[in-house]
């Protein structure tokens, strides 16, 4: 069963009088439970594609259906509510709020649910346990290493139990060893918890953890590999 369905999606950006075609007529289907790596040179449109799938951006043309929802034409308010339920985001620079403890950071998406304070805290602790940071719940991001911060970010991404994790260069700022740990964690989430993962990366070793790899070049999908 497909969970992501893109049909003839184009995305143009206008800068002044110049129009830049970042994505050109893309068709893409991703099956539920897949772990897909998106590779390609800088400027090939990887992040733009990711943003479209994650419901952060709207295409210039085409149709995008994710988790059973047509995203094209949704209001920003509807999109936000949809993201909260269906998507977990993981960024290269973690994007944690520096003023909040790890637990409070993880708890953020739960503020959008009807859960009570106690339940939110328990769920956040479960997510932190899954990423192996139960003992760092009270630490602030500044007191954690890069790898630990990325784990907190992953915990935040999964805490509301979304079906899809969208990762933009999740290991781009980490050393090899730490990067492998993070990738193992993502694999675990994919295999054991059934999360569909779409990951943009520059790193072929990172891509090797995925089930599939997709190459983007100048706005076109050029090759699909097993």
């Amino acid at each position: 069963m497909s969970i992501v369905e893109l049909q003839q999606v184009s995305r143009h950006f206008t800068k002044g009088k110049q129009t830049v075609e970042v994505l050109d007529n893309i068709d893409l289907t991703i099956e539920e439970g897949d772990f897909l790596a998106l590779m390609g040179p800088s400027g090939s449109g990887k992040t733009t594609l990711l943003n479209l799938i994650g419901g952060l951006d709207q295409p210039t043309a085409g149709s995008i259906e994710v988790a059973g929802q047509q995203l094209v034409g949704l209001s920003s308010r509807k999109l936000a509510q949809w993201r909260a339920r269906n998507i977990g985001f993981i960024f290269q620079f973690y994007n944690l709020l520096p003023i909040l403890s790890a637990r409070r950071n993880v708890e953020l998406p739960l503020l959008l649910t009807r859960l009570g304070g106690g339940q939110r805290k328990r769920n956040a602790d479960v997510a932190l346990t899954i990423v192996g940071l139960a003992d760092r719940a009270r630490h602030k991001p500044g007191e954690l290493s890069g790898g630990q911060q990325q784990r907190v970010a992953i915990a935040r991404a999964i805490v509301a139990d979304p079906r899809i994790l969208v990762c933009d260069e999740p290991t781009g700022d980490l050393d090899r060893e730490t990067a492998d740990e993070i990738l193992d964690l993502l694999e675990l989430l994919n295999r054991k918890h059934g999360k569909t993962i779409i990951m943009v990366t520059h790193d072929p070793k990172a891509a090797s953890h995925a089930r599939h790899t997709l190459y983007l070049d100048k706005g076109n999908l050029v090759r699909e590999a097993a």
């Binding site: 952060l56 308010r77 936000a80 960024f91 994007n95 709020l97 909040l100 503020l111 959008l112 935040r156």
Partner: protein
């Protein structure tokens, strides 16, 4: 208020900046509390006024005085329940700086008229019985350390004694309070009968005002008109108004204190508005990527805007509350110093409420623009930076 910890943490992200801003707001509302209370002290007479009381004054000037013979005629006017009188004594106790109003009155009738003044019935009996007796508001007695039985010398200026002296001496036989603490009013009352007998014979029989209680407060205007009509063609015509109106007219003689206070406060609030707005804009600018992250997590535009707005409302609200609390404390401390010439000053519930209201409004005004920017923030662009 699930987001409260988030807002709270954001507020104290830059402690120094937040505290400096907070202190400015505190200073503004400290001034608000003080100035409104001082203005309130000038207007206080207006508030103590009873709804069913009229004040009969000389038509042409309050310094003229009216003959005591008017009293019986006023009592006979239709719609008048009871009437009594008082006289402005002037006079000095020890030093001109010890200013407080002193009135010769009819003891029994006076306390009957001002039923909100509470006095021990035994002390009232003494007041009526002893010729040279006087009573003081408890506040005043406390201020000068008077005890029951003390002899209190007052130097007369308007009213001189028939024996050629201008030294009046009274015996303190009691103190009284105003039922509602907020409206206590320092004054010193003594026996009219003694006053009248002792003053220069040519000046005997003259009083300053008559106070009238009407049977039906709704008829106040009609009764006033009837009283004035009664004396219109006498050589001592009157002007009758509700106590409230009379007090307001007297307060207006000083000038528009309220206007002066409000002008100053406008200057203060304009300054604080600019300062706080600047802080909130700075705070927002630093936080744009984080707000974008919240949006990716599924926080709606409106919710993010609301978070920013609430932060500003919270900052201003806290500052306002502290400032007004401080002004209350300052008035407690300064009270005895200021009461000499302004009467009782206290921060009223109305001042407190309007202060908090203004603080919250300030928060909304200041936070509105940053909140709207936060709402417009485009996730994709903000994250790219």
């Amino acid at each position: 208020m699930k987001s409260f910890p988030l807002i709270w943490s954001n507020l104290f992200r830059r402690r120094v900046r937040t505290f400096l801003t907070l202190f400015s707001i505190v200073a503004a509302f400290l001034l608000f509390g003080l100035l409104r209370s001082i203005a309130g002290a000038f207007e206080m007479g207006v508030n103590v006024a009873g709804v069913d009381r009229l004040m009969v004054s000389p038509k042409y000037s309050m310094v003229d005085g009216l003959p005591i013979s008017h009293l019986a005629q006023i009592e006979a006017v239709e719609g008048v329940d009871t009437a009594t009188h008082m006289t402005w004594f002037g006079g000095t106790y020890q030093n001109p700086i010890n200013f407080f109003p002193k009135f010769p009155v009819q003891p029994r009738f006076y306390f009957d008229m001002y039923s909100e003044y509470i006095i021990d019935p035994l002390q009232l009996d003494e007041f009526e019985r002893i010729r040279t007796a006087a009573v003081a508001s408890a506040e005043l007695a406390e201020e000068f350390g008077w005890q029951i039985g003390d002899r209190i010398p007052i130097e007369g200026d308007i009213w001189l004694r028939g024996d050629g002296s201008n030294l009046w001496e009274f015996e303190l036989v009691g103190t009284y309070r105003v039922g509602d603490e907020d409206t206590d009013f320092p004054s010193f009352l003594f026996n009219y009968e003694y006053f009248d007998e002792a003053r220069v014979p040519e000046t005997q029989g003259i009083v300053s005002n008559f106070m009238v209680r009407v049977s039906d407060p709704d008829q106040a205007a009609e009764v006033s008109a009837r009283i004035d009509a009664q004396f219109e063609n006498s050589i001592n015509p009157t002007r009758t108004a509700t106590e409230e109106e009379a007090n307001r007219q007297f307060a207006a003689q000083v000038g528009d204190i309220g206007l002066i206070m409000n002008s100053i406060l406008s200057a203060v609030f304009f300054t604080i508005l600019l300062l706080t707005a600047n802080t909130m804009t700075q705070a927002l600018r630093e936080r744009i990527p984080e707000l974008a992250v919240l949006k990716t997590l599924g926080f709606t535009d409106r919710r993010v805007a609301f978070l920013v707005l609430l932060e500003s409302v919270l900052l201003c609200g806290i500052g306002g509350a502290i400032g007004i609390a401080l002004s209350g404390i300052a008035l407690q401390a300064l009270g005895p110093e200021l009461e000499g010439f302004l009467g009782q000053i206290e921060i009223s519930a109305a001042t407190t409420l309007s202060g908090v209201g203004i603080a919250l409004l300030l928060g909304v005004i200041v936070g509105l623009n940053p909140a709207l920017s936060a709402r417009r923030l485009q996730v994709v662009e903000a994250l790219r930076k």
